[in-house]
């Protein structure tokens, strides 16, 4: 067997089509994950009864099971649940009409939420208690203090972790190929099997993932510069 260098390029070009799908899965899951994660982190940080225990259970279960398991549980469990509910309520809805990518969005958001809650929590811990007291002392309400003073600083403090998570979810999104979503990895498999050139196709996929990752690294460096302008930063 010989390496077909020119086919790497052919595969590369074909894989470009799948980039939007991968990016959509990554963006949706990280964004929704952060909404879930922020809610969970706040509930745990401020020890909200019931919600904080529920949040802790959610985090330990999700972090205690693989991402692909979440995807499969949602993929097989959700349709059963929805169809049963639709039947009971007399709607004409069939779960088969749900696009595959929705399962990926949903399950990866749940996965990301658990990890994001710890990212947000570490950010909250980085904010000095005096900041909250100062906000109260000038007459702010709790939500005002949180939104205007605490969360922006927590966000800035967790930027390195956020970029870590973005990269993790970008690579994790490749698992969506198991439920027939054609993202970069699935596309590589298709290109590989139709041309019987596996190594070349996966090499092209690797290059694309790497390129996207470099993009995220650049963006996060810019964001750090922008949002951490106020800080001399760390121990240096």
């Amino acid at each position: 067997m010989k390496l077909d260098v020119s086919f790497i390029w052919t595969a590369f070009v074909e894989l470009l089509d799948a980039i939007p799908v991968t990016l959509a899965i990554t963006a949706v899951s990280v964004l929704c994950g952060f909404l879930i994660g922020t809610a969970v982190a706040l509930a745990r940080q401020f020890r909200v009864p019931v919600l904080s225990q529920a949040g802790a259970a959610y985090v330990t279960f999700i972090r205690g099971t693989p991402m692909i398991t979440h995807l499969l549980l949602i993929y097989f469990g959700m349709p059963m649940l929805l169809d049963a509910a639709a039947e009971a309520l007399g709607f004409g809805f069939r779960s088969a009409s749900i696009p595959m990518i929705v399962f990926a969005f949903l399950s990866f958001s749940i996965t990301a939420g658990a990890y994001a809650s710890e990212v947000v929590r570490s950010g909250l811990l980085a904010v000095d208690r005096g900041q909250l007291e100062a906000a109260y002392s000038i007459g702010m309400t709790g939500p005002q203090a949180l939104l205007r003073i605490v969360l922006p600083q927590a966000f800035a403090a967790s930027l390195p972790n956020i970029s870590n998570m973005l990269i993790g979810m970008l690579h994790g999104s490749s698992l969506a190929f198991t439920v027939s979503v054609v993202e970069i990895n699935a596309k590589a498999q298709i290109v590989a099997t139709t041309n019987w050139k596996f190594f070349e196709a996966y090499l092209a996929a690797a290059l694309i993932y790497w390129g996207l990752t470099i993009g995220i690294e650049r963006l996060s460096a810019l964001a750090e510069k922008r949002f951490k302008a106020y800080s001399r930063g760390g121990v240096s």
Binding site: D128, G130, Q131, E133, A134, A135, Y136, S137, I138, G139, M140, T141, Q144, R148, I149, P152, Q153, A156, A229, Y230, S231, R232
Partner: protein, 250 residues
């Protein structure tokens, strides 16, 4: 006028304030002195409800709050009456000096941005920081940060400004610039309660001095009288220890 009556506060089994009564008249500058652990900072923080007293009544101006029964709105209303200057400055780290001063005006007092900006610039100029409007706290010295903190408190035009050991975290050479700003605003007739270890300053600026120990007010009175002729033995001991007679060398 500010009146505290029967303020009690415990942390666990440790009673920090055992029934404090204090009256402060409008325009008065009150200095609270006392050894560490005497409860003076806790008392100050109770007035702003950064600590919740176990019992007692706090009234500022025409607003009265019973610490045993009140809602969140009452606490919010009480906090609007006062402003705090912290020992560790506690400037909002992600905001510039100007934004720090504007924040309360815009968000809490709902003043328009343009007007808040104008008033904040005037206040920062007053505390001598007209050239540092756009500096972040991390770019300012301790003394400069504390002066921004004072401007932030002044901006709200509160009934009373509470100073919690405003110079304790400062290098000795920066203490003077902060004290002179406090002296200047004291002369303008703003009501202030200052917890401090600067005895000379307390004697010079305060109209009224309160000496606390063990969670109670041991003695209070005019500065001259209290510093020169303290009645209580505990006050005498304290003053002797912190203003030692000259005549020894290190």
């Amino acid at each position: 006028m500010i009146a505290l009556s029967g303020i009690k506060k415990s942390f666990g089994k440790n009673e920090v304030l055992s029934g404090i009564d204090l009256k402060v008249n409008r325009g008065e500058v009150v200095a609270i002195l006392g050894p560490s652990g005497s409860g003076k900072t806790t008392l100050l923080r109770c007035i702003n409800y950064l600590e919740k007293p176990d019992s007692g009544v706090i009234s500022i101006g025409d607003f009265k709050l019973n610490c045993r029964q009140h809602g969140k709105k009452d606490v919010h209303a009480l906090r609007q009456k006062s402003a705090m200057v912290f020992q560790q400055y506690n400037l909002f780290r992600h905001k510039t000096a100007l934004e720090n001063v504007m924040e309360g005006l815009v968000v809490v007092r709902k003043v328009s941005k343009a007007e808040a900006r104008e008033r904040s610039i005037a206040l920062l100029e007053k505390v001598g920081l007209g050239a540092k409007l756009n500096a972040y706290p991390s770019e300012l010295s301790g003394g400069q940060q504390q002066r921004v903190g004072i401007a932030r408190a002044l901006a709200l035009n509160p009934e009373v400004i509470l100073f919690d050991e405003p110079t304790s975290a400062l290098d000795p050479e920066l203490v003077g610039e902060v004290l002179s700003v406090i002296r200047q605003i004291a002369e303008e007739g703003i009501t202030m309660i200052i917890v401090t270890h600067e005895m000379g300053f307390a004697q010079e600026v305060a109209n009224h001095v309160v000496f606390m120990d063990g969670g109670v007010i041991v003695e209070e009175g005019e500065p001259k009288q209290l510093f020169r002729y303290p009645k209580e033995e505990r006050t005498q001991q304290f003053l002797k220890r912190i203003t030692p007679e000259a005549g020894y060398s290190i």
